[in-house]
Subunit: 295 residues, 2 copies
């Protein structure tokens, strides 16, 4: 791989640039931004070797093009960059839903260009290039969503790229991705926002409720600080799966509610202990950087 082009140098795109410059020192990074100010900032921060404000054949002379913009812009961008794409370039994105994006790529590119969706499971509540972090991808799962027509060699190339940046990669179907991510990422995000809402709304009954909130409440509402406009698009795009996830989670709440209502101390202890052990196992698994494919 000689050159990677990153479209959009926000916190994620710029982190990709920094990580490439650190981990893949022979690879040239091209960045595409909209504003002159960001072009200058990118060169100053060395997140890219060359930065463009428009689409041109030079910018797209790359082995890999990464679309690192918000979801609805990805959908549009897939179409907008089509005239500039070169034979043999792999195109990917980093959006947190994959079904809609895969459909659009298939519609626009057909068999002309190789598109494989990526979803690195990391990020920041902060937006903007200045919050870029070259360690953003360390040990993060990164899901790749090739389809049946994808050449396995291309999937392997993309997988190697993300691994070089620090990720462990997993391969799965785009629609399976969306269902799993709904459970494991979008649901937690919703819960965080609903808890923030709950804490504030309950001030009707307990005026200074938030004054007594400690680190537990603070950690559980961290995700509520995610960019509302980005998240509206994500949730809308994955709406049906999220409705299912919230429904299943409500059943989970019902279970613990029953245990409490029955005052069944033994079941309560077993419930807490089981999930305490699972949490420890889960964090140990994360620390072990284990790479597994779950196609």
């Amino acid at each position: 791989m000689k050159k990677v082009t990153v479209i959009g140098l926000g916190v994620m795109g710029a982190s990709i640039g920094l990580a490439i410059k650190k981990r893949l020192i022979d690879v040239r990074v091209a960045g595409i931004v909209r504003r002159e100010q960001h072009l200058q900032q990118a060169l100053k921060m060395r997140v890219a070797d060359e930065v463009y404000k428009d689409f041109n054949s030079e910018a797209f002379k790359a082995d890999l093009v990464i679309i690192a913009v918000p979801i609805l812009s990805i959908i549009r961008m897939i179409e907008d960059i089509e005239p500039f794409l070169q034979k043999g370039t792999i195109i990917t994105d980093i959006g947190s839903i994959k079904g809609l994006i895969a459909e659009q790529a298939s519609r626009v590119y057909g068999k002309e260009h190789t598109f494989i969706g990526s979803h690195p499971m990391c990020g920041s509540e902060k937006t903007g290039m200045e919050h870029a972090d070259l360690r953003m991808f360390d040990n993060a799962p990164c899901i790749l969503t090739p389809d049946v027509s994808t050449d396995p060699d291309d999937t392997e190339k993309l997988s190697s790229f993300w691994k070089a940046l620090g990720c462990r990669t997993l391969i799965m179907d785009a629609s399976l991705h969306d269902r799993q991510i709904s459970h494991i990422s979008h649901l937690p995000h919703m819960l965080s926002s609903v808890l923030m809402n709950f804490g504030c709304e309950q001030r009707k009954h307990y005026e200074n409720l938030l004054d007594v909130a400690g680190t537990g409440f603070s950690d559980m509402t961290r995700l509520a600080e995610g960019n509302p406009s980005l998240w509206t698009d994500i949730l809308e795009a994955n709406r049906k799966n999220i409705i299912d996830s919230i429904g299943s989670f409500k059943e989970g709440l019902e279970e613990i509610l029953n245990i409490l209502k029955k005052n069944d101390k033994e079941r309560l202890f077993n419930y807490l202990k089981r999930n305490y052990e699972r949490k420890i196992d889960f964090e140990n698994f994360r620390k072990s950087h284990k790479i597994k494919d779950i196609s």
Copy 2:
């Protein structure tokens, strides 16, 4: 204040000892532990100036006695230490429920001794003296629960003590404490455990679901690692309030579910944006260390 006696030198009790030795350098700390090993460790770590393995009049010659043991042990301890308590000593605890404890103190001490409950809203998932942290109390809210018969001067003395350790203090009735804490601390704890349970149970449908979990899921399940036996006691003691909290939270989930089902993008955006702004305000408030009484 010349001497503070801390009963129990686990992570919380030992953190109190360390914080006193750092922030109130003229105050002597006595510790009471059960095992010889912990006595030696406490002296070695300098969490206390004197350490005892039994109750004796020397150990209780103190301006303040802090019961820093699990909830059910607090209830027992209130009774067990009674014969050793001296006139003029203020007794407190650091349990995360206050109603039951206040009842027990009132029953055992009557007007003989001054008991005022404390609840510093901080802690660690880790247990044991070795995880003690002298900065544990920095900016943590600490709720004091005097009753109608408490001398305001004694409440003020206890409040000054916690402030010296880095807390901001709030005063409220024990039963109001339990209702508020149910919403702002026990509910988040339950949600964290239920989410961990959900993630694991859903592996029936998505075998490797946890492999794709990123920092969001990890943060949202942090509290699930709380000690199951301590938490069983807390949840049982505050059971009725927690049942109410979970019920109200479920209504909150219903609201967002309706927004999603109606595909009302504007309302979804407004919901996320409102809670995004509230989260930012909340964290700014926490940073401001503002001290408010909400009696």
